[in-house]
Subunit: 434 residues, 2 copies
Amino acid sequence: MQPINVGIIGFGTVGSGTVEILLQNQDIIGNRVGSDIVIKRIADIDLDSDRGVPVDPGVLTTDALEVINDPEIDIVVELIGGLEKAKDYILMAMEKGKHVVTANKALLAEHGEEIYQAAQEYGVSLAFEASVCGGIPVIRSLREGLSANRIQTIIGILNGTSNYILTQMTQKGLPYSQAVKEAIDLGYAEDPPTLDVDGTDAAHKLSILISIALGIPVSFNSIYREGIDRLTPEDIRFASEFGYCLKLLAIARDLGDRVEARVHPAMIPQNHIMANVNEAYNAIYIEGDFVGPNLYYGLGAGKRPTGSAVVSDIIYLARQMRQGIKTFMPPLAHVRKREFDLSIQPIEALNTSYYFRFSAVDKPGVLSRISGILGDNQISISSVIQKGREINGSVPIVMLTHEARESSVKRALSLMDQLDVLTDKTMVIRVEEG
Amino acid sequence: MQPINVGIIGFGTVGSGTVEILLQNQDIIGNRVGSDIVIKRIADIDLDSDRGVPVDPGVLTTDALEVINDPEIDIVVELIGGLEKAKDYILMAMEKGKHVVTANKALLAEHGEEIYQAAQEYGVSLAFEASVCGGIPVIRSLREGLSANRIQTIIGILNGTSNYILTQMTQKGLPYSQAVKEAIDLGYAEDPPTLDVDGTDAAHKLSILISIALGIPVSFNSIYREGIDRLTPEDIRFASEFGYCLKLLAIARDLGDRVEARVHPAMIPQNHIMANVNEAYNAIYIEGDFVGPNLYYGLGAGKRPTGSAVVSDIIYLARQMRQGIKTFMPPLAHVRKREFDLSIQPIEALNTSYYFRFSAVDKPGVLSRISGILGDNQISISSVIQKGREINGSVPIVMLTHEARESSVKRALSLMDQLDVLTDKTMVIRVEEG
């Protein structure tokens, strides 16, 4: 069989991981495809850095168009990241009839619809397993493995950097700022790690997962998000006393006529299968109406795991080519569109339980005033911890609520803000019973 | 688009789950395939039982050949289980040019090669996601998601019944016999649950996973297996004191020129991601050379999860048909065969650490005689628990070893058997550090 030629745009971390796998595992990849995969061209603005992989210098170019316009290249792999340029390259490659592999979650979350439509228009395939949780084949599982199911719930630990930071805060009792510093020093976080810790990266990934689960692109901007920077080791300790641990979760639920989609720190029970997902690991918990609960776990970033996903996509497209077909299924794995539009429920309509930490002056009657306001707003308390120890001159009162409505919680908290017995803003963390 | 016609042979538990999904989720399945999936015929020897799903009686037949010979049926689903008849039906259906879906792990483990070859000979597809761990799409992940990797390690909790029994023994301190009785009463185990608890079922599944990982069928009979029936709640408690828990594991490792493949009870560290896999859940831990560790978790049996896997295979084959192709890839997902044969390493050559529980008389010098024999056989001890409490008139001496060779352990134990200070056979459990 004729070899299949691949062109790569972007020879950074993921690009060099991809090249390393294609070279080091070329025998087994060839066995699995039935044809050899050849790296025909690699474009990058930096031709000088040593990536530690043996590449014929003649393959390298600074001009991405030399990849896109090469008539012998069958599959173009976009690994430069960013929005505009990456989108242009992908669309140009598709126009030339090339299949495209990308790891670009931000691009798909923000301009996915345009790219999915272009793939269908030009009759080519788009593969993007690497865009969500690196080495975990969750996109494939949603597109194929769980295809018999209505996907009801997705709960993900989708960002390895913030999971690493929270793990350090939990295991060593570090404050947020110090855990971030250590993560940066050890290479687990960029400096500053803004998009990782503020929930943006997880929301990008969640929007892609929802789109595949439900079959239509979902607007990334309407996903509620909240970061981990305000969390304290005290809250992690109190959570643990209640039997919970703290994770940055990305949560989606199909509510029938609308969808819940949110990214925020949340408490989950310590015996939940996700509770042991620590360090830089990612996990995605998916419930389907027939399959029940499923969990997928692995490394969500790094050149080797992400390279593994990119190469699995190259293999998939190469297998298609060997069968003489252009696309096995559309990008979102739905041939017919869902009949109605997908609107994301505003966060105010959420019903969940909550953790509150009040900073109160140490006087009689405080608890009764707090619980009075909660009661007036239909928020009922399930358990309370009140401890004598002072933090910054006040006493923490910590409680868990039964299920309540987010809008009621907001109203209650704005009333609390006016209480003179509370010395600081109240810490609120949502609880996910799973 | 024309509908795609499915015929089902076997209308038992999994059969009725499959029908229920095809009926209840026909809208989303149709959206995902782009064609409707129609149940054209169902064969079963029992036409009278109520399966709780609304099926037109005209669809039912007692004659499997009416399914196989129906020229309008595109996909035949074999769900009768067992070996000879199931094999005949599958081969006949393939000969008629039909694609086949099966959930029959025993058949694939024992006669897989013949069936895989027939599929290739007749140019049809064989799909068998439901044969390993029901609702967990692990076969698809090995065939596609991890296809860029050399699969180095597979560690599975592949049998839900024995995991349920071990969970009850662990959480309630029940002896084996009582935990089995409860599992039977609650419908988690057949009566008697022989193939589930003796490791046969897990070995069937492991042989299928190895075949896909490495690309050639592996002989199920050469997989070492050992059941859970000799385990006691005391061993589970001692394991816990050492920081381990007890699971029935199916383990495979690619050793380059041969493969390790074994099913037996094993101790794993309590902080291992598999340690929280309890009740009837299954999990498969897979390490690839680039992707690193991956875990897949879910329900491995039951009509709904297994039906989910069967229907995902029907969808996969229907998508193929819509693309006008017969088979996207061969059953074991390798087009070229591995160049050498795959021999399974005999258990005697295993190197691992061990847990020993000696039943000793309570006299001075016992420990020194035991450790003397171990030392003579190059087995070094990493920790010991010796407790005063008597069990059946003797005192337990419990120890963990460093890595040792199985053949040395066997030799040492046969020497111990002759010691008059030991009152019972020594309990040996392998330790999997993960």
